[in-house]
C-alpha cells in the first residue's frame, strides 16, 4: 500500500504514518519497495512470526519470575 492509501481513514498526518512505518521497517515487521517516487509498503510475515515467538519467550520468562516473586512474598 502507498502512504496515501495508508493515511486515508486515519486522523494522523502523513509524516506520522511514515515515521511509524520506518520504525516498523527497522524492526523488520514491514518492508518498502520503491515505485517511482513513492514507497509501497508490505507486511513482512516472517518478521512478525519471529517477533511473536520472541515475545512468547519473554512472556514465559516473566511467568517464571512472577512465580518466584509470589513464593517469596507469600512465604
Amino acid at each position: 500500500m502507498s502512504i496515501t492509501q495508508l493515511t486515508e481513514g486515519f486522523r494522523v498526518t502523513r509524516q506520522a504514518i511514515t515515521k511509524h512505518l520506518r520504525m516498523m521497517e527497522h524492526a523488520g515487521l514491514v518492508r518498502a519497495t520503491k515505485q517511482g517516487r513513492e514507497s509501497l509498503w508490505d507486511l513482512a510475515p516472517e518478521g512478525l512470526e519471529d517477533a511473536r515467538e520472541y515475545l512468547d519467550v519473554i512472556s514465559r520468562g516473566w511467568d517464571l519470575a512472577l512465580g518466584r516473586l509470589k513464593d517469596f512474598v507469600e512465604a
Partner: protein
C-alpha cells in the same frame, strides 16, 4: 498460579497477578535491590535509585551437578539496567536489554525496553501489574537470532533459566 497476560502486537506485554501479602512486603521485594535480586536470580551492585545506571550479574547457586554444568553459560553474565521511576509503595520502573544472555555480545548500543511494576489494592492482597514495552525498537535481527542460533538453542537457554529459577527456589 493465576497470571493474566495481555499483549499488544509485538511491542508490549502486560502481566497481572494477585500477591497475598501486605503492600509494604511486596514493595520491598521489588524496590530493594537485594530482595529483587533474590527472587529474580541476580545480584546488583548497589541500591536502586531513580535515574541510576547499574549492573547486575546472574548469581551462582547451589544446584545439582548436571544443571550446574548447564548453568556455567549464564552464571556471572552481566546485565546493565537503568532505574527510571520510584514512587514509594506504588510504582517502580527501569530499563534493560531484554534477554541479553548471548555471551560476547555488546548490547549497549541497542535500545532498551521499559519495565514498570505497579501496585494496586486487591480484595485479598496486592494486584501487581508488570508491563514491558519497547520491543519493536529492538532490531528484529536480534529477536530472530535468538531462535536461529543452533536448532532449539534458544529453547535450551530458556529451559536453562527455568531450571535455574527452580533450583534457586
Amino acid at each position: 498460579m493465576d497470571i493474566d497476560t495481555r499483549r499488544e502486537g509485538t511491542d508490549r506485554i502486560e502481566k497481572k497477578i494477585v500477591l497475598r501479602a501486605p503492600r509494604s512486603r511486596v514493595w520491598k521485594a521489588i524496590s530493594d535491590s537485594a530482595q529483587f535480586g533474590h527472587w529474580f536470580g541476580m545480584k546488583f551492585d548497589g541500591p536502586f535509585a531513580p535515574g541510576s545506571k547499574m549492573s547486575g550479574v546472574i548469581v551462582p547457586t547451589k544446584v545439582d551437578p548436571e544443571v550446574a554444568k548447564m548453568q556455567k553459560d549464564v552464571e556471572g553474565l552481566r546485565f546493565d539496567i537503568t532505574i527510571d521511576r520510584i514512587e514509594p509503595e506504588k510504582l517502580f520502573s527501569f530499563r534493560w536489554h531484554p534477554y541479553a544472555i548471548e555471551a560476547g555480545v555488546d548490547y549497549s548500543s541497542e535500545p532498551m525496553t521499559l519495565i514498570v511494576f505497579e501496585l494496586t489494592d486487591a480484595a485479598n492482597g496486592i494486584l501487581l501489574t508488570i508491563t514491558e514495552s519497547g520491543f519493536d525498537r529492538i532490531p528484529l535481527a536480534r529477536r530472530a537470532k535468538a531462535f536461529a542460533a543452533n536448532e532449539g538453542g534458544w529453547a535450551a537457554q530458556v529451559n536453562l533459566i527455568e531450571k535455574y529459577l527452580e533450583q534457586t527456589a
